[in-house]
Amino acid sequence: MKKQKPDFFSAFHAWLEYGGSSLDREMTESLENKPETGTVESKNKPKSKKKTPPQNNPRRAYADAWWYRLLALAVAAAMIWLLAEAVARMPQFGNADTLADSELTEFYVEHTKEETGAMNIVTGIILDYRGFDTLGESHVLFIAVCTVLLMLSIYGEKDEETRLKRNEMERHFEPGDDVILQSAARLLTPLIFVYGIYIILNGHLSPGGGFSGGAVLGAGLILYQNAFGYEKIERFFTYKTFKWVSVCSLLFYSLAKGYHFFTGANHMDSHISTGVPGNILSGGLLLPLNFVVGCVVACTMYALFTMFRKGEF
């Protein structure tokens, strides 16, 4: 490839112009290792036509420049130094004494069970003492789905006919009737679902909780969809289900946590008993909070997957 004098602005313009399709092109290029012959169009899928990039793409020349490589090395070295420095300042690994003088750790270990009613201290911390953080995390997931919906949605297609055609096309390319996959899924999906629900409902007693259980449930949904197709899964899980479950769960979490914080901050009794630690119905708000977090995470995982697959529910 002919080397061109790198120029930052032309490189930037090239990046802006071909940004959308460049990833695709470069991957094909690196796979086949041959000069550009324009974007490789797959025969079946309709694709938005992008301009064929010129032979001397300024962006590539820019990436070949010595100062670009030097800069990349410098950034990498700075990053490594920063992380190594942080690790060096951490308390020594595996030493039982390093945490003993930390007041907070001691407080958590001593008081969590009694104050929150959780046998699993981790759940007690993340859903009670640090409940606000977990609320933020759930919202981050929800916002991620909203963003993907905005960026990949085919609902934006103005022409109704184009939209239906694309939808049809995506459904056409879903995995066909694979006997091995279907037999395995028929066997595994119930087990995965039961295990996910167990992790969620038992979150305050044993390792696990809303997030991990929700991820397991989401993985189960994805497996089921891949094996049996959209029609089967749409009998019980559609866009409407996703919308209502997510919004109701987040609302419930916000209201319950808001009530808890309001009463706690004002030294009022919240009238939510923590029960006997160790019982399944104990821990006050922990069980319902775990449940709603699990719902949000499961819906989000499945929604992200199906958005990537076909652009809508």
Partner: protein, 89 residues
């Protein structure tokens, strides 16, 4: 236990380097999944079962599946015959 820990950590390092060096995106992704799985066992050995469950479900499971879907979208996964045809053309 110590030996298992060392083996797993070495495996993870090898996987991490292999992911960066592999040209084939599909192979890189599967190596990434294997690394996530080893990571979840290491969490288990470090007595962090909460993290182990999350890592197995998210790190080795869902995030890899999402990346598979992304690879499919950008046509990086192709059947063998199809790829051959394109190299010829």
């Amino acid at each position: 236990m110590e030996a298992l820990n060392v083996i797993l950590l070495l495996f993870m390092i090898v996987c991490a380097v292999a992911v960066a060096l592999t040209k084939n995106l599909l192979a890189a992704l599967i190596t990434f999944m294997a690394q996530g799985l080893a990571m979840s066992v290491v969490w288990m050995l470090l007595e962090a079962p909460d993290l182990a469950i999350t890592e197995a479900a998210v790190g080795a499971g869902v995030s890899s599946i999402l990346m598979f879907a992304a690879l499919k979208k950008i046509d990086a996964i192709r059947e063998k015959g199809e790829a051959d045809e394109e190299t010829k053309a």
